[in-house]
Amino acid sequence: MAKKQLYWKGEEELFRTKEFLASQKNEFNEPLPLDEVFSENNMGLSANRRDFLKFFGFSVAAVSLAACNTAPVRNVVPYLVKPDEITPGNANYYNSTCGACSTACGITIKTREGRPIKVDGNANSPVSGGGLCSTGQASILGLYDTERLDGPVKVEGGSMAKVEWADLDADVVNRLNAVQTGGGKIAIVTGTIHSPSSLAVINDFKTKYTNANHITYDAVSYSGILTANRDSFGKQVIPSYNFDKANVVVSFGADFLGTWISPVEFTKAWSNRRKVDGISKEGKVLKTVIFESNLSLTGTNADYRFPMKSSQEAVYMTSLYNAIAKMAGQPEIQIALSGELAGGAIQQTAQMLWKEKGASMVISGSNNPKIQMVVNGINMMLGNYGTTIDLDNNSNQFKGIDSDMAAFANDLKSGAYQAVIFWNANPVYSHPESATIAEGLKKAKLSVSFAGIADETAVLCNYIAPDNHYLESWNDAEPKAGVYQLSQPTISPVFKTRQAQESILTWLGQAFKTSDPFANKGIYNQKLSASVYYLYIKSKWAAMGIASDDAFNKCLHDGVYTVAAKPTMVPAMAVALNSIVSDLTASVGKKDEIDLVLYQNVSVKDGSLSNNPWIQETPDPMSKVTWDNYVSLPKALAEKEGIKNGDLVNVTYNKVSLKGMPVFVQPGQSNGTIGIAVGYGRKGKVGEKGEIESIGKNAYPFMQYQSGSYVNVVNGVKITKIDGSYELAQTQTHHSIEGRDIVRETTLGEIKDNPKAGNDKKAPHLYTLWETKEYKKEGAPNHHWAMAIDLNSCTGCSACVVSCSIENNVPVVGRAEVRRRREMHWMRIDRYFTFENRNRVDYKNELFLSRDFEDMNVTKEKGLEALDKLEAEGKDKSYVYWENVKVVHQPMMCQHCGQAPCETVCPVLATTHSTEGLNQMTYNRCIGTKYCANNCPYKVRRFNWFRYNDNDRFDFHFNNDLGKMVINPDVTVRTRGVMEKCSMCVQSIQAGKTKAKREKRKLNDGEVKTACQRACPAGAIVFGDVNDPNSEVHKLFKNERSYRVLEELNTQTAVKYMVKVRDIEKVKA
């Protein structure tokens, strides 16, 4: 046997050295030159052949990989000198005042890297109470609006030319002086101003220009209340309405939860008085009764809603007055009119009010001062002044007197006013006499507008001196007597704009430069200079007693400074109501003619911010229509005229007409009335873009001048169907709940007897294939995020919807996409109508003869009589149902199911469960099969059908650099083709956890708030850790009223709803 030949590679192997043996254990027995490969120094020619091949192979692979993606070059410019308070990645918060409308809610502004990205309510503010409406939420986008003017503009012959501020100032001052010396009058037309400093600026102006007048103009005014109070009590104010002190509120068309005066404040107070947990047998909630034509937000939340024809309001109001007067033993109004609503509603309401003397409230949305005087009379008899209604600590939020404005319009036309300054006022759009004003403006020697956007009025002026956005401005406010708030800039002016107050001060030659405390105090001699107006405010506040910097800064920090409330007095009525009988009679319209009732959309309001896409895409809480106004039609009228949803009609009254309005048949619209929202149909010009596309149509011209005010009720309009059709963009198209157990409700009486009332359905048997997850077990040490939503508090105002969209960079998709049912809102408010009783007899019992009313001796016969009368008129009784719908609002977002149907079906695990109970989306992993959305029983998942950012087909704010500044840097902007949904603001959770960890403590309950929770004026949404036995959400989860939607699917949602409680009596079965 031949000896096997031995080969060896080197002497190490031959002699089997220790190093050799060790190296044999490695896969590569020579060390790989990885370090060399990866360090640049050795990339030279020192490589041998093998290494060259390695480099070569690596390079080819790397180059081809790198070539797969062309990364755009983006430059990041670091701070040369970092401001002390800004740490990139950390948010700063500043308290300020909302400038979206003159209600002036206190807000907290969140800024990141020096740009404001979110506004929320400031809990210190008695006006906002920590909540904020949808309009206020959305107003932040106005700062980053490409339609804003980027500097002063001279308008000549319809074209706009940029000018320098100095040139504008010189010319304006010259012309003002010329007008002054020539004896012409000067008008400053403003929206309501309650800022003490701004009013002082105007006073300064009036001191210098002695023939200047300040005219306050509100597009939707409360002139009726103001003048009624002036005439009744000698106080031209809007009183404070203390909903918290009332047990009954009766509203005639005043949508106090949606748009009336100060809805955020009222919603807060109202919802506080609707709490039922632990209520005693004698306990009372704020019983809410409303008489109205259009279905308003308040109407959907009222315990009793009585449809009425608004042109008959004077009839019902005097009937109510007389009914109460009878009980009070006071003289009745001697008036030939008297009326009663079906079922004796007026009588019953009178008795309800009388039972709660001194703790009741009657309000009216009418702008007719005479009707408001009757309201005053009723409240006087009920002894509500000094308790629920406070004239001494009044509201300053609206001050406009319509007759002043009407006089101005005439004087302008006649040439008496030779110079006009418009400040936060756009009468050419919103005033019914806009043509008169537009014509008058041509005669004026000087007209200046402070509008930030070239609005309808501004384009007719000589100059536009654009005001700063409120987030760029210093200001103060006194929304209610004794409540002072400050506004502070949270960003340097984005454009070359100048605050209006500063413009006026400049024209007055007042400059505080010499006493500028910031001059030359910047680091490295960087020149900082304070705003002229800031110094002006400080001097005014010093006069108020806030002299020191510390005191001022404290107010600035808190955002609010309050002085002690004045003692409230019970006023005396100075007017005999019998003297206004003829005016009242004149205000009553014909019964058989159609009433047009103009109203404000909850988000669009008076239309001053109507170019804001967030506002337009927020669905109307009742009709769920976005991006348009429409004629809201009752079913009976629609069928009579043969009109259906999507038809077009012309609405005509005398010379005013709106052509081609789309129709929406609105359940709840009173028979014989139609409704149209104001605030639409804006026109304007924007730089090169030309005309702004008009959204909807302008209904302001329908406003009627009545007893010195413009009222929103027009009796005798004609509607004619025309050819064509128009699809309204609705986010919800099916309105009935189909008898499903999705929302639960009960009555106050029942819940007093049984706290589980309405929620005592037998629990379903639940089976599961899966093991109970570790985090869900009793005493698990982790967080389990959960949310409780109180249907009893939620009014459906939709502030949460907007807040959520802003916080989470939810794209706006526009009208066309909403029509395709593709809105991206992570949170929506489901609104369901019910006809509680389809059976005729039941219906009568329910509406007319509830136990409450039975006690008050209202006969069954009266109810039957009313219904029979309707039937005798040939109307199907179903019309009555359509007029009398009940409404439930249910906020709906991802339920974060413990056993989520979406999670099991995703083929790539893009949606998974966190150990903290969150159902999380991994956008990067999502391939867009959409299976999860199909399998979601709650239908809350939203798919990115298109690329919504940087796409000019979606020309909202995601396609331009300015609009993108509002993007929340903590939240990914999703790309095309991925699914998205509510994350329970996981970025806020993470921020809260990080903060707690850094401070070495446990996260406190309530420290992390979701965007919807922060926005909610009603406090209906509570978020927290359900594993923490002391947390509020834990307690709410144990509450007898709490239930899960679709519990029988055993999805084990992390969201629970609380049963809605109506303060009505249920009919005995």
Partner: protein
């Protein structure tokens, strides 16, 4: 040795000799295309162009170019997917199950049925691929591939993943089975080829087939093995497709009878499509002697049987919904029959349950033009079945607030019509370049094969 009964009707008529079979079946391959072939082919290519255009639009702009919305997130896409997969069922059934049951009549139709299967599955695959929002990553993330993304893995709980496996397995096995059966015939064409190009390519694809006893033996064994593998696939593919729906919580989808019901439906639609194709093909290509009335009649019987089974399933669904006491289920079915998409439901019922009952009559089973009409009805009905299941269930689910309507856009319609373009383009090419009838097997069942 095959013992044929003298009284059994012949499977191939016309008293063909072995040579006749070869020449007749090879005729379309070896001659210039006929006018009808050319016209049909051009038409198909135009529709194929429409497919490419529509898919291009989808890729360029996004799934938003379809009519889907927040509640109905599967519409025509998945309807068409299930439709095509269902059509793709008959081929394997004919080739595998009928082979195992020694049904010799299958021999003249199995080739085209298998080809149809492959093309139908190709058409079907377009929809799940392109319905993905991000096909550029989804196209490979759905496979359990090792990756550099950390511990990322696919979700084995997801029926969509099962789909990926089921469809890809079915497609590959069907393709292999089809190709295997083609090898002897390709060799025949090779041997008859006159030009160098034809010689080369047919030689290449015949894989050196010599026709020796050993190759025939292997051929038979592998056929049997593949038939064994394919048989469970016939049942599994549509079972798993049905699980996309059955395992969900959507009322109208969440139904345990879906697997057998879908399989029956698939066979029904598959035979419907085979009939549509063969009634035309036998006429156009003059194959009446190979694909006889007897074949058509046998297939009509299958159509009638499976159609009735499907109809039974429809009725069972209603019963179960009523019996379950679940209001959502009950509503889903009432909504199908009486809701806004009632026309789709009643089209389905008419086409699938009622129409095939005419096959109880012999005349109906043996009249080609009538069979053709009815096969179209079956195809339409089965398309509506998938539409009814998918869209009417999704458009009104649990929360009435999310109830919407759905209608397709031109892009979606274009894709659907385009898949017919792809299907027929493939089929025309197949009939031009490959023998449509399995010559080797047909020769085995000739009466006068001596």
């Amino acid at each position: 040795m095959i013992h044929d009964s003298v009284i059994r009707p012949q499977l191939v008529t016309g008293d063909k000799t072995l040579h006749d079979v070869t020449t007749e079946i090879c005729r379309p391959i070896e001659n210039k295309p006929t006018t009808s072939w050319t016209v049909g082919f051009i038409l198909s290519v135009i529709f194929l162009g429409l497919l490419l255009l529509s898919l291009g639009v989808t890729l360029a702009y996004g799934i938003g170019t379809w009519g889907l919305n927040k509640s109905v997130q599967w519409g025509w896409d998945i309807t068409n997917f299930v439709f095509w997969v269902g059509i793709g069922h008959a081929g394997t059934l004919i080739s595998a199950i009928l082979l195992l049951f020694r049904q010799k009549w299958r021999m003249s139709i199995n080739r085209s049925a298998e080809a149809m299967t492959i093309f139908a599955v190709m058409c079907a695959a377009i929809f799940p691929l392109f319905h993905m929002g991000r096909i550029w990553v989804g196209g490979y993330w759905v496979f359990p591939l090792p990756n550099a993304f950390g511990s990322l893995w696919v979700n084995f709980h997801s029926p969509l993943l099962w789909d990926v496996f089921a469809i890809s397995t079915y497609f590959s096995v069907s393709l292999v089975f089809w190709y295997l059966g083609l090898i002897p015939d390709i060799a025949t064409v090779r041997d008859r080829a006159k030009t160098a190009g034809r010689k080369f390519w047919y030689n290449f694809f015949s894989m050196g087939w010599t026709g020796s006893v050993r190759t025939w033996n292997r051929y038979e064994v592998v056929s049997l093995v593949l038939a064994g593998i394919s048989t469970p696939l016939v049942l599994s593919v549509h079972t798993i497709v049905s699980m996309d729906f059955a395992t969900s919580v959507v009322p109208g989808w969440h139904t345990t009878i879906f697997p057998p019901y879908f399989v029956a439906g698939a066979i029904f639609s598959g035979f419907g499509m085979v009939l549509t194709l063969l009634v035309i093909a036998r006429k156009v290509m003059n194959y009446q002697d190979f694909i006889t009335i007897g074949h058509l009649e046998a297939m009509c019987k299958v159509v009638m049987l499976t159609g009735t089974m499907v109809g039974l399933a429809y009725i069972t669904e209603f019963f179960v919904a009523a019996y379950s006491g679940v209001e959502y289920e009950q509503y889903a079915f009432i909504n199908r029959a009486t809701g806004p998409y009632w026309w789709a439901y009643w089209s389905m019922m008419t086409c699938n349950l009622i129409a095939p009952q005419v096959f109880w009559f012999k005349w109906a089973r043996t009249t080609p033009w009538f069979i053709f009409m009815l096969s179209i009805v079956v195809n339409v009905g089965m398309w509506f079945e998938r539409f009814v299941i998918i869209v009417t269930s999704l458009h009104r689910e649990y929360l009435p607030a999310g109830w919407v309507m759905y209608s397709p856009t031109l892009t979606e319609i274009g894709i659907f019509l385009g898949t017919f373009g792809l299907f027929f383009t493939c089929f025309f090419l197949f009939s031009k370049f490959l023998p449509v009838i399995n010559m080797a097997e047909v020769k085995g069942i000739l009466k006068n094969r001596e």
